[in-house]
């Protein structure tokens, strides 16, 4: 499928997802969109992610195949690279923490530049890393800020986060950086996808769809907060009802809210069945989460099985005469 068709398909899909709650709420299906769908989505999310991780975990790791990105541990007079070539679990944990929190491998990124000659250069390329960091961390902050809707009293940590996030102290309601950063991050990732020809070439509908979906979620969120205000007291009544398992559906919350909630639900439900499970998968990656110590400690393959080999005896049987003639030692003399 070519890029424009993939993009159009994903846009239309998100468009339909926006319309569904619009129509549904107009038809009075508020408890369906306000209660049933969110519960289903959250259930799907947890069951799906757990099932996915279990499915991965059921396949064993027969061989120790870390990608070594630094000096091995050999002599005490050669400094080994604890992070990039860990030999024990401590090193692995550090390596993983840096991968997950700082996207360290992505930070290595470079860009190949091909000139006539030929001459090839490898230029620094940190934009993808920066974009990914902005996108993921703003997503995280936005998500955590939403805890205010699901707890009473609201934890002081959430207040702290809100304070930091809104440090600019402009506007009323106060402007949060994270919401805009999320939109900017998604926009960057999308623009990257359509402006870099190679990236455009490899992109599937399932690469555009989550970007559009998250963009729509963030956009409806921002709209609700700053422009088309919804009745926040009623919203909290609804979300607290969900959180305490005593769902209530107050009257008069704007349909914008239902669109927002529905899109979030779709994201949750979609998560385990899509590339978004990379969040869980990164922890299981055998090229990153194993120490490079298979010469020091024997790694066990649970399905190791005996194989047919050509034994020395068979070999000597074939070549005995020639071996004797050449003065090579043999096991059997005739």
């Amino acid at each position: 499928m070519n890029a424009s068709r993939s993009i159009i398909f994903s846009l239309v899909a998100v468009g339909i997802l926006v319309c569904l709650p619009l129509i549904g709420v107009a038809a009075g299906m508020t408890s369906f969109f306000g209660v049933i769908v969110p519960y289903l989505a959250v259930a799907l999310f947890f069951i799906g992610v757990v099932a996915r991780v279990v499915r991965w975990a059921r396949s064993p790791v027969p061989f120790r195949i870390p990608t070594t990105c630094g000096q091995q541990k050999s002599f005490n007079w050669i400094k080994p690279d604890k992070l990039d070539n860990p030999w024990d679990n401590k090193g692995v944990v550090l390596r993983m923490i840096l991968e997950v929190l700082l996207f360290r491998s992505l930070f290595r990124n470079s860009r190949m530049e091909f000139y006539e000659g030929p001459k090839i250069r490898y230029a620094s390329a940190k934009w993808l890393w920066l974009g990914a960091i902005v996108f993921h961390y703003s997503f995280l902050v936005v998500l955590l800020r939403h805890l205010r809707f699901f707890s009473e009293p609201v934890s002081s940590l959430v207040h702290l986060l809100e304070g930091v996030d809104g440090f600019l102290e402009v506007g009323a309601p106060r402007l949060y950086i994270s919401g805009l950063a999320l939109l900017a991050g998604v926009a960057f990732l999308f623009l990257r996808r359509v402006t870099i020809p190679q990236l455009k070439y490899i992109s599937l509908p399932s690469d555009y769809f989550p970007l559009f979906l998250i963009f729509a979620i963030a956009a409806t969120g921002v709209l609700m907060r700053y422009i088309y205000k919804v009745d926040i007291v009623s919203v909290k009544e609804l979300t607290m009802g969900l959180a305490t398992f005593h769902p209530v559906v107050p009257e008069g919350i704007g349909s914008l809210f239902y669109i927002h909630l529905f899109l979030v639900s779709v994201l949750f439900a979609y998560f385990p069945f899509s590339k978004l499970v990379h969040m869980a998968g990164v922890f299981l990656s055998p090229t990153r989460n194993l120490p490079n110590n298979s010469r020091m400690v024997r790694h066990i393959n649970p399905w190791n099985y005996p194989v047919k080999v050509h034994t020395y005896e068979e070999y000597e049987d074939e070549f005995r005469e020639k071996m004797i003639e050449a003065g090579l030692p043999v096991e059997k003399k005739e």
């Binding site: 190949m112 070999y315 030692p329």
Partner: protein
């Protein structure tokens, strides 16, 4: 065999993807860009399926009737056995960080050589048959059916990946396309669709102990030839032994060192070093191959071929094993051998008889890398070196893919280099160590009918060599891999004429001051030593 285009022709690479989406761009079997199919006799020797005469460029591949079932069952089996495979099928976000990291993509511009697309070739089939979304949404979920066209694409592109793992260094999730390639090649081999340049060495190695099928007496002869050569150069007669029980150490190196220049000079270097320090070691004619083309066939074949090392060490009753300079051999030893064929509890934890150093890092496999062994000797001042004998060589070092990204042996060879030669310059950061570029011919693709792709894939490596060639006058490319020694000379000839290729221990052999040696006038290649050019003339 196809003529390789001239370098300035080949250098015109466009990285702009074609108009047609990749799923609708069929593969074209153009001579010079693919390897010959596995011959039936080689498959028969090791009992691999579907032996027949076939040519990848033919329309009819003579596949078994149930080839699709075999392949899908094979996929399922491997998804259940390898977490790596399953995970790598699921979590790629197509961020493209790996895309321009592959030497074949850089040198060919073919988008399916971007690691991410290479993996998508099989991932798309995975989605179709093994995921719910793929079954329901089909191509909208990036899924596609397994057809003969897809299979041919697999063959073409999974034998255009050298399993170098460079892509996995940059992937945020460590997705290793080499691992995906290994799975794909296993599947292709279940249909008899491997390449002959791998199947041949596998069959030879299985029956005769080494890739060329050198028989025991000939193996001994060939090594003894180099004993004479060493005597010619140094006046010292070294005395290798073969299949000797009770030796302390079993030495195994790729057989390439025994039969092809410039590997043979490295072989001479090993033997001179062992003689000088009085190492109690033996060769084996049965385990006469360090390399393992099973790694490029299937995990099972890798195990079948590797088994000889421990079996022979046990039969001969040695204490530990010393391994020569080789890339993929060391991937097998470091990441697979002990798991597959261990535990080696009949051996002892390796200890250098010269320095007393215990190789704790090899305490389970009981196998030591020669660069570790020699670096330890130098560190303890146990050998006398005259690096000025290599003064006419301005040296740079090529980190082999496997020893870099599947082991991490970076400092040992450099430490040795700095003691055996006076002029050493590394290539630019980003092209060495964990980011090193492949020679372009690894993983069993070092065959002549594939020369165009080899030159393309080797371009990034050659480009970095040219940089130090122009900047520092580098004229010698050192390496610790037998495939490198075989394939870098034509690569250098093609892209950077004026740069020669050497093994690490050839330089050691040149610099090594041996007890009782005559006044040396030439290096191991019979080229005059620096300052000896005139004396050489006198002799003639």
């Amino acid at each position: 065999m196809a003529q390789v285009p001239k370098a300035d022709e080949l250098a015109k690479v466009s990285h702009r993807p074609p108009e047609t989406p990749w799923t609708e761009t069929p593969v074209e079997f153009r001579p010079g860009t693919f390897c010959y199919g596995a011959k039936p006799k080689n498959l028969e020797v090791v009992g691999l399926p579907n032996p027949r005469e076939w040519n990848p460029a033919d329309e009819d591949w003579k596949l078994p009737d149930n080839w699709k079932d075999i392949t899908l069952n094979g996929m399922k089996d491997r998804l259940d056995k390898f977490r790596s495979f399953k995970l790598f099928m699921d979590i790629c976000v197509r961020c493209g960080a790996c895309a321009d990291k592959c030497h074949y993509y850089i040198g060919s511009g073919d988008p399916k050589n971007m690691p991410v697309l290479r993996a998508e070739l099989i991932r798309s089939v995975y989605r179709k048959y093994f995921t719910g979304s793929g079954k329901i949404f089909s191509k909208y979920a990036g899924a596609r059916a397994l057809t003969e066209r897809v299979l041919k694409e697999w063959f073409y592109y999974y034998y255009q990946c050298t399993e170098c793992r460079r892509c996995s260094v940059f992937c945020p999730y460590g997705i290793d396309t080499a691992e995906v390639t290994m799975m794909a090649r296993e599947l292709l081999n279940e249909l008899g669709c491997g390449i002959d340049w791998i199947a041949g060495p596998v069959a030879n190695c299985y029956m005769n102990g080494n890739h060329l099928g050198i028989q025991p007496h000939a193996f001994k002869d060939m090594i003894e030839f180099f004993v004479d050569e060493i005597e010619e150069v140094t006046g010292v007669r070294v005395e290798p032994t073969f299949n000797r029980k009770g030796a302390e150490v079993l030495f195994i190196t790729p057989s390439g060192d025994v039969f092809a220049d410039p590997g043979t000079y490295t072989l001479m270097g090993y033997m001179m070093l062992f003689h000088e320090i009085g190492l109690d070691y033996t060769w084996s004619t049965y385990a006469s191959e360090g390399g393992n083309f099973g790694l490029f066939t299937s995990h099972e074949m890798m195990k079948r071929l590797n088994a000889k090392m421990y079996a022979e060490a046990k039969r001969l009753g040695v204490k530990w094993i010393l391994g020569g300079e080789c890339g993929h051999m060391w991937r097998v030893i470091n990441q697979y051998m002990d798991t597959m064929n261990g535990p080696a509890d009949f051996l002892e934890v390796p200890k250098s008889p010269i320095t007393g150093t215990v190789f704790e890092n090899a305490k389970s496999t009981k196998m030591v890398h020669i660069a570790e062994f020699t670096a330890d000797l130098i560190r303890h001042g146990k050998i006398k070196l005259d690096p000025s004998r290599n003064d006419n060589k301005i040296v740079t070092f090529h980190d082999s893919c496997n020893t870099s990204r599947a082991m991490g042996i970076f400092e040992e060879p450099r430490y040795i280099l700095k003691h055996v030669c006076n002029h050493f310059y590394d290539m630019p950061e980003g092209t060495i160590r964990e980011k090193t570029f492949c020679c372009g011919s690894g993983s069993g693709l070092n065959t002549d009918e594939y020369m165009e792709m080899r030159m393309r894939g080797g371009l990034p490596r050659a480009n970095a060599v040219r940089y130090v060639h122009e900047k520092h006058g580098v004229n010698m490319l050192a390496c610790i891999c037998a495939i490198d020694r075989a394939v870098l000379p034509p690569l250098m000839n093609y892209w950077v004429p004026g740069v020669d290729v050497t093994g690490l221990h050839e330089l050691v052999g040149n610099a090594l001051v041996m007890t009782g040696e005559k006044k040396r006038t030439t290096d191991l290649r019979y080229e005059p030593l620096p300052g000896m050019e005139d004396e050489e003339d006198d002799d003639v």
